[in-house]
Symmetry: C2
Subunit: 464 residues, 2 copies
């Protein structure tokens, strides 16, 4: 392991969290497209506008089982003096009416069937009684029918050519119904973004490994895989790497060949071995992502260690990274202030903290919005979703930075309450699964008082 000398320690300017989110969203564009069968399109975002291919309903349809009638024929009907109409025929769904409805007649009609010409109302079966007139079937109607009653008129919901859903729309079950109705057996959608995930840190061991002294298992990769799936992406897990810039930059440059987005965890802080911090400083200073970059200036604080040696790997350098820019390498938030982002050869590299809580918050603030944008969400839609809630307890901590606090959300009589989870430390994992949202406590001296209204970033909930 090489010491990186804390070389990146004192050159980082914190930006505000909203600015950081904006920079990530503006650096993301709608990505690859593909066509999928309609039945698999649920949850994807539409890549093109789709329009109604017919009027809908395509013909006047019965909404009930009963009788198609002329409402005028029933105008005087009552239980005591029902209107008696000759039954001129039957029409089932999927059939064309064989007979028109003429004055004094009715046609037996099933839900979904085309209303015969002449009829302007459908009387529910339950409001009729069978009869015979001259030995032929008839029906008695007990109540006056309103014109249009129980009929869905042609084009009532959609006119041919009108927009059903625009590009970027997340396809919900109701959209699937509409697209099926209009014959879209195959649907143009944005492809699932491929998200490479690399954990950095010499202490990290694979989840399957027995725990070595001083070691911990790489749990962030599994957490991020679940978050990527929740966001519509496909995780490509690269495992973990020690804090070696040559190795890490080589892995990242290779990952950029196949991934739409690269997420790393760890190594962003001010520690002596913070590999991502060093690599990102290289981007900031050279505009390129290179394993052979070395800091040219000292941080002004003499140390007893050897000068940093970033261990050039010419092979990795050849792969790319020439056209890179740093978006940010410090944010005025807790947790996760060293969270960083860069664009490397046109693709986003987001470097999250290694502490699970900060990694989690960083994903919600920066990675999920980028994944939304890659899947065709507008810039506005890509922002984290938030709601407002009343704080159930004082959150007394003052902070010079915006702070995101895990919370349960509780609704009582139409009012939403935020109940902050007990463990505040960002390293805490135990309460992560219980969080429904992240309260945003704005920077300031007082924290937030019980009963005050706070913004809460919403976390996905399970409907499984």
């Amino acid at each position: 392991m090489r010491q990186l000398q804390g070389a990146t320690r004192f050159h980082r300017r914190a930006i505000k969290v909203d600015e950081a989110i904006r920079l990530v969203i503006e650096a993301s564009e709608p990505g690859r497209r593909e066509t999928v069968p309609l039945w698999q399109a649920g949850g994807r975002r539409l890549a093109e506008p789709l329009a109604a291919t017919t009027d809908w309903p395509p013909f006047a349809r019965a909404c009930m089982d009963g009788y198609a009638v002329r409402s005028a024929d029933t105008a005087l009907a009552s239980p005591e003096s029902p209107a008696e109409l000759r039954v001129a025929g039957t029409v089932a769904a999927g059939e064309l009416p064989a007979a028109d409805v003429e004055a004094g007649t009715a046609v037996r009609i099933m839900t979904g069937a085309a209303v015969p010409a002449g009829a302007d109302a459908v009387v529910m079966l339950e409001q009729t009684a069978d009869a015979l007139r001259d030995g032929r079937p008839a029906v008695r109607v007990n109540r006056a029918a309103e014109p249009g009653q129980n009929i869905a008129q042609r084009g009532e919901e959609f006119r041919r050519g009108s927009l059903v859903a625009g590009p970027g729309t997340p396809i919900r079950p109701g959209h699937a119904a509409l697209l099926g109705t209009f014959g879209y057996a195959d649907v143009p959608v944005f492809a699932r973004p491929r998200v490479a995930v690399l954990a950095t840190g010499a202490e990290l061991q694979p989840v399957a490994a027995a725990l070595a002294p001083g070691g911990i298992r790489d749990s962030n990769s599994a957490m991020l895989a679940a978050m990527v799936e929740q966001s519509g992406g496909t995780p490509l897990l690269l495992g973990s790497a020690a804090d070696d810039p040559a190795a890490v930059s080589g892995i990242i440059l290779q990952a950029l060949q196949q991934a739409d987005l690269v997420v790393t965890t760890g190594g962003v802080s001010v520690g002596d071995y913070d590999v991502m911090a060093a690599l990102l400083r290289g981007i900031r200073e050279t505009g390129a992502f290179r394993p052979d970059w070395r800091p040219e200036e000292s941080d002004g604080r003499p140390r007893g260690d050897d000068p940093a040696d970033f261990g050039a790997s010419p092979e990795a350098a050849l792969r790319g990274g020439d056209n890179s820019r740093l978006l940010f390498d410090k944010i005025a938030i807790r947790p996760g202030s060293p969270t960083s982002a860069a664009v490397v050869d046109g693709r986003l590299l987001i470097a999250l903290s290694g502490s699970p809580g900060a990694c989690f918050v960083g994903f919600e603030l920066f990675v999920r919005p980028a994944l939304r944008r890659l899947q065709g969400a507008s810039r506005e839609e890509a922002y984290p979703e938030s709601t407002t809630a009343r704080l159930l307890s004082d959150y007394a901590k003052s902070s010079p930075h915006d702070r995101f606090v895990k919370t349960k959300l509780i609704d009582r009589e139409g009012v939403l309450y935020a109940d902050p989870l007990a463990f505040g430390k960002s390293s805490m994992m135990a309460s992560l699964p219980d969080a429904d949202g992240l309260i945003r406590i704005p920077a300031g001296p007082g924290g937030a008082a019980r009963g005050s209204i706070v913004d809460v970033l919403l976390l996905p909930r399970s409907f499984v």
Copy 2:
């Protein structure tokens, strides 16, 4: 096509919606299990309790980059009079401390590293300054350190053997982090339920087909496929079938061989051709699901048509269905009162209405709870999720039944408002994609007034 004579029309007793949901949930049990890699376990429900395999943290860990110290050594420290400590060594994450911290010394420590013996606090790097003492590295600390500061103590979050998550827990990203931490590379989960979907109705054409006169496309299957996916299941689309009991019962019996649950749409009403209503009546009257069942009693209303002939298919009859029971075939709700359910040879058959709106509501009320239960949710957890909200407009319609009304949900200053969607007809599809929830308007004369608090069944929202 055979006329079924409306044979099922007048024998159906409506039960209350809560009773219907209860019957479905009680007829469902946790289903098949499987083991999946941790990185694919997000969103599944755990099949077994999983416990902490070590204390967590496994050793006292530094939460910050800085110096491990004895807090007593810093008790009098101030910016004017800093405590100067000799730097006895360095410990990085993943390493074991080489040196203990003795009185008057400090050890440089990185986030995540094991705190050396002797130290009881970690001072942030930012609160220190480098120094030299007798030509050897030292550090100045400007502020008294609290005992325990910036240290996560061994076992602080979990004791070995304590429960991490119980069976039936939906695995969120935070759980994935915990399971990774404790070495669960493979996770026992409930299998995705296989859900066969069959649309009935002679008017139905495949989505890819050109529209024939009087016909409409089978849009319910695509909608249900998306809903099944949202619920963690795998849809098996059987296409559509005309209203022929022999054919439909044969398809259903075959589907029960491979599916955990069968959902049908259409044919449940009181129309002359309602195939599912007829088949379910057969279950009610015989305790078996058979294509050759015929009604033995007339409904007391003479008709001019031929007697029903259910067209026995001995092959289908041999496959099963002998051990069946009806759960319900009428519910006091709108939309979807003819929604029915039965247990056929131990598996649920849920027959939804064919109208898209009623089909949608029926899925949320009955199918999603059954799918939750099949995936290991407790009976309590299987019920539809609801919240409360304030109604933004009068909903004046009185109803003898509970009514479910599509709504948008809007939050303002911590208060949730329900804005009912304009189109109330259950056949309406246009507003389906816009619904965030389903307002439950209880049975009664007045509907519900603006400003009143209503229960709202929550619909899944997209986080993609």
